[in-house]
């Protein structure tokens, strides 16, 4: 086997160790390693480097954790207390819930209100000689649609403006 041939397999060993090799090439590399002593030696030396990297143990100052936590606590706690009173995530959930409740109430009021307005308009329409279809159209245009649109606006408007936060 020529040097270039070994070099290409040694390159594959590097790729394999770096996690940058395809399954196909890895299989081909495995097969090559069964029969090639120089490439096996290359892999062995590479593995010793990697094992050697794990042979260092850096001393961590025993007071470092305490110092870090002492610096973190004042920064974390006050904010956490604020969050406990006005927790962002809970507020988000509450906001969502309130938004849908508000919409449901608004839609219900819109429908019930329309029915009431229709009944009143029907009674008032008789002496004025309006027929039922005209009353229904008037209620639809002047009451039901505006109130329905208002309910939808409530859904789209920011919570603060709606006064529900």
């Amino acid at each position: 086997m020529n040097i270039d041939h070994h070099k290409s397999f040694q390159r594959m060993i590097d790729e394999s160790l770096a996690g940058a090799i395809s399954a196909e090439r890895e299989q081909s590399l495995r097969e090559h390693l069964y029969t090639c002593a120089p490439c096996k030696e290359y892999l062995g030396a590479s593995n010793r480097v990697i094992a050697g990297l794990g042979g260092f143990s850096f001393e961590v100052n025993p007071t470092l954790n305490a110092r870090v936590l002492a610096a973190l606590r004042p920064q974390a706690e006050p904010t956490r207390k604020i969050l406990e009173h006005h927790p962002g995530t809970r507020r988000q959930h509450n906001l969502q819930f309130r938004k849908w409740v508000a919409l449901a109430v608004a839609l219900s009021m819109s429908v019930i209100g329309s029915e009431l307005v229709y009944q009143v308009a029907k009674h008032l329409g008789v002496p004025m000689h309006f027929d039922t279809a005209q009353v229904q159209a008037a209620v639809l245009v002047f009451w039901l649609l505006p109130s329905f649109c208002s309910a939808l606006c409530l859904l789209a408007a920011p919570g603060v403006k709606r006064g529900i936060v």
Partner: protein, 184 residues
């Protein structure tokens, strides 16, 4: 059920000191090891560690918990370390200069790698590691000590995956001669 990254993300969002304590406990040694690989020295690391944890607390809300915590954490650590190096120009890592950025140990003092070597192989690597450019040392530590993927490392070092891979190859190539001719 909430996964570990999600639990960490929630804890950081809520600035939960219990979660922070657990993170400090779990990552402190790994952080120190990573910083030594970047700086090539041990002194000054403790101050940077403290600054990093404060930044983690401050910016914790930006970690969304959708991916592993390590890439986000080491990215924050790297940014602080690079800033610290700008203030105290011991070496230039932020330029991602493949040829520059050699660490400069304080003269007369043994290197942090010599002091930290616990095995014979580590002792043999100590000198070469100290003279290795930080970007290669960093890539080796993240890949083989932190067990991060090339994609995760590329996020940390803000470089393409191909660049990260070539740093790993070159780092290995520099250290490998220490053991060549000894293994069957």
């Amino acid at each position: 059920m909430e996964s570990d990254p999600q639990r960490i993300a929630r804890g950081l969002r809520q600035r939960d000191i219990v979660v922070l304590e657990a993170l400090v406990e779990q990552y402190q040694y790994r952080l120190v090891r990573y910083l030594v690989s970047l700086l090539g020295r041990r002194d000054g690391v403790d101050d940077i560690v403290q600054e990093i944890w404060l930044r983690v607390l401050e910016r914790g809300g930006s970690y969304d918990g959708r991916s592993r915590f390590e890439p986000w954490f080491f990215r924050v650590a790297r940014n602080i370390a690079v800033d610290a190096m700008r203030k105290r120009p011991m070496l230039s890592l932020d330029s991602n200069d493949e040829e520059g950025g050699r660490s400069s140990p304080v003269s007369g003092e043994p290197s942090p790698y010599t002091l930290a070597a616990r095995t014979q192989d580590a002792e043999r690597l100590a000198h070469s590691l100290q003279s290795l450019e930080p970007v290669y040392r960093e890539a080796l530590v993240l890949r083989f000590q932190e067990d991060l993927s090339l994609q995760e490392i590329s996020v940390i070092v803000a470089a393409p995956v191909s660049t990260v891979a070539s740093r790993i190859y070159r780092g290995l190539a520099t250290l490998r001669p220490q053991f060549e001719g000894e293994t069957a």
